[in-house]
């Protein structure tokens, strides 16, 4: 639990955790928290923020605050589900490649390189258009194209773990590969997997909003992406209704920022050398003597 304590000592990580947790709680409690229905009008079209409608209303007179809360539910669902898919694939491939080495590693890195080169958004658009536009397809499309960085990070970590004494000792006692991975590799990779999940949530929320904006969102559900699309399509801009545009974007930005802080913080805490200062804060004096030029 040294890692957990190290994490809680960094204010940026704590801030990130609080932000992500907050939105997760809002997403889980969405049906209770929505002040009005998102299916029917509860005010005038494009009514500005007021005491009854804190964030105003959209083009159809639907309460914006309720929309943003309902949007949190679906955006966070897509975010976490897609991140789970991505980390499952990336984690499995990464552990396999790092542990197996040789041809296994060459194959995995080759495939990963290929998927890294393909621009994600155009391929997602093509796949979403081919598959259809339910929320499950969107989760799959995003998850299936977000695992590459997870593979690389996990593979590198497993590489160093494999050389550690306890793995060799377990093997000399006759432990099988599967046992070693489950008992000795997985527990050490777990924090990294959590960090990667949180990081992937950010990009998944981002991609969901992008797909929705292009008209490939789930038409039956409200998400932050579909709110922005709706505002664009129903001329919130020419109506000057900034309140119909601003809130979902800020939510997306907060989730992205929050998970960025968490994910990066965990990676730094696990690999303290990343955080070492090269130059002293005041002026450029000599940097601390840490190994840096690995590349």
């Amino acid at each position: 639990m040294r890692l957990a304590r190290a994490l809680l000592h960094r204010p940026t990580i704590v801030a990130g955790i609080v932000i992500v947790m907050l939105f997760t709680v809002v997403a889980l409690l969405a049906p209770v928290l929505e002040p009005y229905s998102v299916k029917s009008a509860s005010g005038e079209p494009f009514a500005p923020p007021s005491a009854t409608h804190w964030l105003g209303t959209d083009d159809a007179g639907v309460d914006m605050l309720s929309l943003v809360i309902a949007g949190a539910q679906n955006s966070m669902l897509v975010g976490f589900a897609a991140a789970f898919v991505a980390v499952l694939i990336g984690g499995t491939l990464g552990i396999f490649a790092g542990y197996k080495g040789n041809w296994g590693e060459t194959t995995v890195t080759g495939v990963t390189d290929f998927f890294l080169v393909i621009p994600a958004l155009p391929l997602m658009i093509v796949l979403a258009a081919l598959f259809g536009q339910t929320i499950y397809h969107i989760v799959l499309v995003i998850g299936l194209l977000s695992w590459m960085s997870v593979t690389y990070v996990v593979r590198a970590q497993v590489h160093t773990l494999k050389e550690r004494g306890f793995v060799g000792r377990a093997r000399s006692l006759g432990a099988g590969d599967f046992f070693i991975v489950r008992r000795h590799i997985l527990p050490h990779v777990a924090p990294l997997l959590v960090a990667q999940t949180v990081l992937t949530v950010a990009s998944a929320v981002f991609f969901e909003a992008a797909l929705a904006f292009i008209g490939l969102g789930d038409p039956a559900r409200v998400s932050w992406g579909t709110i922005i699309e709706n505002a664009f399509l129903h001329s919130a801009v020419s109506a000057g209704a900034w309140w119909a545009i601003v809130p979902p974007g800020i939510c997306i930005a907060l989730v992205v920022l929050g998970s960025f802080l968490v994910g990066q913080g965990v990676e730094e805490a696990m690999n303290p050398r990343l955080g070492s200062a090269h130059v002293s804060p005041k002026s450029f004096s000599l940097r601390r003597a840490t190994a840096k030029d690995e590349a």
Binding site: P119, I125, L257
Partner: protein
């Protein structure tokens, strides 16, 4: 053969392999997945069986997959990407026409992003941890995490009335001279190019800052300081020269990606470029055009990656070893 030549040859080989896999992958994606072109077209109600068969024959979907694949490679080699469903024009013409508009707008936005990002990154690295550094890094990170389409909409809200908000030129501008046309185009370009620059400058600023921080700790910078050079010279001529390497890599990578990333910007500002063509192709289920765009975008990314490798090996001979 020098080490660098060998390195470049090896990278070229792997780029070609990836390009070939992409071409095959795109074939599988568009021909073998459910919902092929003809089954979508033939969804027209009451379409006779013969007409469906004729459609299949026209697009060559009635032949076995291997024959289709070979045919596809042959046509691709001739530069034939098929015919767009929407306007019955060759896909290649459509793609080339729209990509020209994209390259101009995105190119300007990217150059602005690189310049601003560099300036800001170097300024932030000048005193690590200072208030200025923290404000700059924080702002770059926040802007980096904003959804592009949302930033575009806000720009529209703020600047509607001041600047043209959609399209590439004023349709009511007749018989305009060269200067008038140029000013009109430039004014239309301001908002989308600004949006592209905002989308990109954050990552440039962060990368430049961290590589500049590393460079400032290098020995030759310390030597320069010891010689008593001015700060400006130390920062730009000594440190930034070696900090430029990651910037070059990131720039070539970004150039490949912006064509893909411009989809959202072009949708917001209805800029008639490759991104908007993508969205229209999706809406109309225009698979040949979609495939053409996908191929071109992916291969341009592969090409720019290769260019980045070559530049990198020229600037830093160590990578070839």
């Amino acid at each position: 053969m020098s080490k660098r030549q060998k390195f470049i040859l090896r990278r070229a080989g792997s780029a070609l392999v990836i390009a070939f896999i992409t071409i095959t992958f795109s074939f599988v994606l568009f021909r073998a997945l459910p919902g092929d072109a003809a089954s979508n077209l033939s969804r027209v109600p009451n379409m006779p069986k013969e007409a469906q068969a004729a459609l299949r024959a026209q697009f060559g979907i009635d032949k076995p997959l291997t024959t289709q694949y070979l045919l596809y490679l042959k046509e691709l080699a001739r530069g034939d990407l098929g015919v767009s469903f929407q306007d019955q024009q060759p896909v290649l013409d459509n793609v080339l026409r729209t990509i020209r508009n994209t390259v101009v707008m995105v190119g300007i936005g990217t150059v602005v992003a690189i310049l601003v990002g560099t300036l800001i990154g170097v300024t932030a690295a000048y005193r690590q941890g200072s208030a200025r550094d923290r404000v700059i890094t924080g702002a770059a990170m926040v802007i980096y995490s904003l959804p592009v389409q949302w930033v575009g909409l806000l720009l529209l809200v703020w600047f509607a009335g001041w600047l043209p908000t959609s399209g590439m030129s004023d349709p009511y501008l007749f018989d305009a001279g060269f200067l008038e046309t140029f000013v009109d185009r430039a004014r239309h370009m301001i908002l989308p190019a600004t949006c592209v620059a905002l989308m990109l400058f954050g990552s440039f600023a962060l990368v430049v800052r961290s590589s500049q921080l590393e460079a400032l700790g290098d020995d030759h910078v310390l030597t320069a300081r010891a010689k008593g050079y001015r700060n400006r010279r130390v920062v730009w001529r000594e440190a930034f020269r070696s900090a430029m390497l990651p910037l070059v890599t990131l720039s070539t990578l970004t150039l490949g990606w912006v064509i893909a990333g411009t989809i959202l910007v072009e949708s917001v500002f209805t800029w008639p470029g490759i991104g908007q063509a993508t969205v229209q192709a999706v809406a109309a289920r225009d698979y040949p055009l979609l495939q053409g765009i996908f191929l071109l975008v992916t291969i341009s990314v592969v090409g720019f990656n290769f260019l980045g490798d070559v530049l990198h090996s020229v600037l830093d001979p160590r990578v070839a070893e």
